[in-house]
Symmetry: C2
Subunit: 437 residues, 2 copies
Amino acid sequence: MISRVGVGVIGFGTVGTGVARILLENAALIRRRVGVPIELVRIADLDVTRDRGVNLPPGILVNDAKLVLADPGVDIVVELIGGYDFAKRIIVEAIEAGKHVVTANKALLALHGEELFAAAARKGVDLGFEASVGGGIPVIRALTEGLAANAIQSIYGIINGTSNYILSRMTNEGHGFAETLAEAQRAGYAEADPTFDVAGTDSAHKLAVLANLAFGTPINFKELYTEGITHITQHDIAYAQEFGFAIKLLGIAKMVEGEIEARVHPTMLPSDSPLAKIQGVYNAIQLIGDAVGDVVLFGRGAGDMAAGSAVVSDIISSARNLLKGGAGRVPPASFQQDQRRPLRMRPMEEIHSLYYLRFMVLDRPGVLAQIAGALGRCGISISSMLQKGRRAGQTVPIVIKTHTAQERAVQTALREIDRMAFMSEPTTLIRIEGQDE
Amino acid sequence: MISRVGVGVIGFGTVGTGVARILLENAALIRRRVGVPIELVRIADLDVTRDRGVNLPPGILVNDAKLVLADPGVDIVVELIGGYDFAKRIIVEAIEAGKHVVTANKALLALHGEELFAAAARKGVDLGFEASVGGGIPVIRALTEGLAANAIQSIYGIINGTSNYILSRMTNEGHGFAETLAEAQRAGYAEADPTFDVAGTDSAHKLAVLANLAFGTPINFKELYTEGITHITQHDIAYAQEFGFAIKLLGIAKMVEGEIEARVHPTMLPSDSPLAKIQGVYNAIQLIGDAVGDVVLFGRGAGDMAAGSAVVSDIISSARNLLKGGAGRVPPASFQQDQRRPLRMRPMEEIHSLYYLRFMVLDRPGVLAQIAGALGRCGISISSMLQKGRRAGQTVPIVIKTHTAQERAVQTALREIDRMAFMSEPTTLIRIEGQDE
């Protein structure tokens, strides 16, 4: 009989602090659920002096990750240092030592997930990463367990709180991107260097993890189309509202004719759709399965306690497996390792979508005819058009919403249009989801 | 090595049909996830002739539940006949035979859950009931696994699709309850006898299940306050909107000072709160945990395929346990059976809430003073008041929103007010949640 389960945490930053707090403060509750105590045995961090506001039992904080890995009392290793090389080494070493591993490292999973999945499956240990996507929202478990009966058809996710905060504020307050970003930085909702968040990279990491689990296929992260929100203007937000849309930075993954579409970009969604209503730093993920229809999960996408909740849920799951011998019952990549299929990732130019196009043109006769002509020659039909505030001889926006078109055709048309003499800047393109023809 | 997992289904109605379809149509996918085939070995139903539109393999449909229970090829028994006595006998027999059990029977769980939980825990088998609440929404798993690190503080659920459909239609179309119910019946969204749904009983069953798992305590169903939506009028919906609220039939469970509040009643919610926006037959459950904050899950609350998705997720979970030896790794009631605590269920009269009160009064001077006086004597303070359309000598509504008050005080005041000569009908009371003072 196992009488306790020992946890070693590597990385005592924001999430590590949340994990420690939960394991200490909710120890009695967790024991009532699991049956034996889950003990925080070791935490390693280079900084062993900073006060994180958590009362650790004496002696457990060490400055060397090796002391966690080597501790025979550690059954479950939690990697929370982030980054690639060292984090990966820790995880692989822990797996090889037969320990269960929990990580929140989406970047590592997106780029080196295959290697880690294979190592964990080979060794028959758990690799938990609920905290890697959507903070405290149990979306990984929804994909691997709750919706396991379904062929997942598509995923739509607001999975970066910073971007959603900025877009929400731009929409509600009417300020521009730069100003809103600065305000978000002052409020602590954006990093000093926000590139990862606003350029879509963080969302793309998370989408790669979700798509991998949903479709049972390795995702080549480099093929995942990623576009951020830095070019979104008040113009676009206002026109979106006029068309009945909200603009969200979405991670989108779909199974289309046996191929995978996976892309991150600003997206117009009907204002009354569930994801359009998600405000501020909240995350939300819509999963569409062939049996269940659509299920939406939302909650706080970040923060020490929300992410800590997810990490500790993985710890509890592995502890339950340790106690009952069910380790590896859910394969790390949701599908059995030998049952995963390399599926073609559809290049961006092959996707079909509805498009919002904003042309900034010199207001003179014949302009619309030339734009419409170029679109028509590429087989793109227009479903609506807006032109407001005529100012002869000056720059004005023409906004067009298309019927379903192929990306390649749209890009070809835009290359032609953007060369036209009356165009004062390159066309702004925003893809539309959730609306039928 | 186990080379297959056998499933026997008892009850070939709506959900049974969905389960059979999923097991047959997604067999290859499920095998890729689980590692071995999950085979539908037997289905029992009294009616073995009706065409359910599913192509069952020959010979598996039988007319006697005993043939399912006695079949040595059945590892997992799925109870989908509903009701109490026979369903309970089936479940207990299956557990005693060492089989894992899956059920969607919320009524049985609400009334006899303790006995079933104890039997399953004693025998070390799984008792899955994801389909009992919220159709395909993985909310049971969220409570038992995804949020297992949290002390759950409160649960708010729209967990009856029929009621939500009716209230949504009443709000959007402006028709009364009776007319909307008739329309819902014609559209197939309400049963011929809708009592269970519109009187709140079905919601109460589901709330009992959720509260039990969330708080680790047996719930005495008889103590659960239940009020339906049959008395909601267009007046109330219009006033709610004027105050910035929507009316939803909510299941509410809270841990308050070590006691449990659990109640089902029409509730006014701020229009911009997540649950207020849930329309039609969708279900949504908001779970608030001490670490994670609030998480909302929503999706289709009913239907053969949505409920089937949940049933099959439980089958997959038990199959994974069978294969890896992890049976019983999550105790049926989420907490270890010997770690559950009987907690006092707070009687309705002890709860605190904000209240909406609609008084139908003869319009004459002094009426408001008398109402306000009675409220004041009971220690209830008024936060806002509306009186529209004065018609001297006729019946007009006076609508009052209170600050936080105790239910007992409100009921005392209403008993006094309802006896006043100018009152033309008993006061309508609707509790308000999600708004601070």
